[in-house]
Symmetry: C2
Subunit: 306 residues, 2 copies
């Protein structure tokens, strides 16, 4: 036993954790403790600031519900989610479409549609056609790939944010055809504020950040033998450069055409985006989604508590 | 806008936070982001591990109530609380008694007692006398100092952990006499498990740590013109070397005497401990408590949410 000092306490803590059976947990905690302690030391964190940090985290936890995941939102605005995405991309066995955040509005229960159908039930204004091809890194069509799509309405809200969050809209699940093609009707999404009425919104405001995301459409594409692709297409609006969750990137810009002669359905503006899937590798036995259905996170947290 | 990589994303995030008006918040976030990102990079944090981290934090938040502060407990078992304590001690203007954790069981509503009274209402077994002197760094008695004391029962539970947590016991507030003396009767506290039925308990178990604290008695001592002293006395039991929250230290060991001729009340075992207060300095305009009444944290989190 020793009298603790800012320079001695870290090793004392790591000594007590030295018997951790799982090498991976041991390593994660060791790296985490070193950085957590170094943060406090370098910032000379005061007791008052520490308490504000405790209160902030408590409030983030209290804000989480089955339809809202404030910790994922926090991870997003701190760039941690994009960091984990980038680290995951680096483990792919071959080049594929760049990934982007799953975000806090994904839900597992996404209705199935036939190719060409409209996924927005409540709006018909500003419709667009979304289409393209899913192929392997070698350029071969991936037939029957599962393509899950979700986005905001034309007014910038997800279904989870409307009413009591139980209605399903602006999302759907499709299967690519024999040529690996997908196509569907939707509405043009709108850039939006992340939820600004919680602790994460307060932080973003205190940082003088705008708190907006560019208009975008989420994709989750999977097929047997391939790494699951979680990504999004971004519309080049005024927020695309300052995405508050660092999801947008030059590789993922949606290019809209007023009348594309190649489009599978004519008569409306269209966005074509072709996706490339990497073959599954050893890193793909576990999931690669940097995000989750908030309902699933809530259920996991509750299950662990009982 | 750029395509994010593990090495580029940190600067992109810091660029977006560059307009933070408060220099202190800007600095805290910059140091925090650098360490958070470095942690993910060095550990090569996987999406699955990231999600487990999100679930864990969500569960910690859900476990917080007006009588339980799981985030403070987490900070304690990671050694962060002791780190902040040690950093705070280093800002004192003169040498004083070493501090220790406030812990998660402090409460503001502590009943007032006369010197010599017994603070445990429900138990009379194993009584001890606790006494000593509060003085300045120059050795001068501090009269009328407020001495708040709290501890477990002889069975190792705090009042907050008993029944619905509303009954008050094993805690009290005293005032030192003209010679700076305090003395009171209490029961010998017992070492105990930290709450092991929540996410922090799961973590401690996964690390093969015992999860026990040595028997101890908390003190919060204040007087006008002096830095508030938050500390604790530790009984040299079998857990004092492996305190799961790193609160014990050689300077804070309670030495029990079976019959001390100097004791102000005779006929029972006694522990004498003299405390030294440092004069208040510029670092003492804000609070120095590494801990808080869980009810106050809960109220602060709720107030911020409305």
């Amino acid at each position: 036993m020793r009298n603790h000092t800012p320079s001695s306490i870290t090793d004392t803590v790591l000594d007590q954790m030295a018997g951790t059976p799982s090498p991976r947990l041991k390593m994660l905690m060791e790296v985490g403790i070193r950085h957590l302690h170094a943060f406090a030391r370098e910032a000379n964190l005061t007791p008052q600031e520490w308490l504000q940090f405790i209160e902030f985290l408590t409030r983030v936890g209290k804000t989480c519900t089955p339809t809202r995941q404030e910790f994922i939102l926090l991870s997003d605005v701190l760039g941690l989610s994009t960091m984990v995405n980038a680290l995951h991309d680096a483990t792919a066995v071959e080049d594929a479409t760049r990934t982007s955040l799953l975000g806090p509005f994904f839900r597992e229960d996404s209705p199935e549609f036939e190719l060409g159908e409209q996924i927005s039930t409540r709006e018909a204004v500003d419709p667009i056609l979304l289409w393209g091809r899913v192929s392997s890194a070698a350029g071969k069509a991936v037939a029957n790939a599962k393509v899950m799509i979700w986005q905001t309405s034309g007014s910038g809200t997800y279904d989870l944010q409307e009413g009591d969050g139980s209605a399903i809209d602006y999302r759907g699940t499709f299967r690519t055809d024999a040529e690996g093609r997908y196509f569907l009707r939707t509405v043009r999404p709108l850039g939006y504020y992340i939820p600004m009425d919680g602790p994460v919104g307060d932080l973003v405001r205190a940082q003088n950040r705008l708190g907006k995301r560019p208009a975008h459409i989420h994709f989750l594409i999977s097929a047997p033998g391939f790494r699951e692709l979680v990504t999004a297409l971004y519309f080049p609006d005024e927020y695309v450069e300052s995405d508050v969750v660092f999801g947008s990137s030059p590789d993922l810009i949606a290019r809209e055409k007023a009348a594309d002669p190649e489009a599978p359905i004519k008569g409306l503006p269209s966005v074509r985006f072709d996706f490339t899937l990497a073959r599954a590798g050893t890193a793909d036995t576990a999931g690669g989604r940097v995000g989750a259905d908030p309902k699933a996170v809530d259920a996991a947290a509750r299950a662990a508590a009982t």
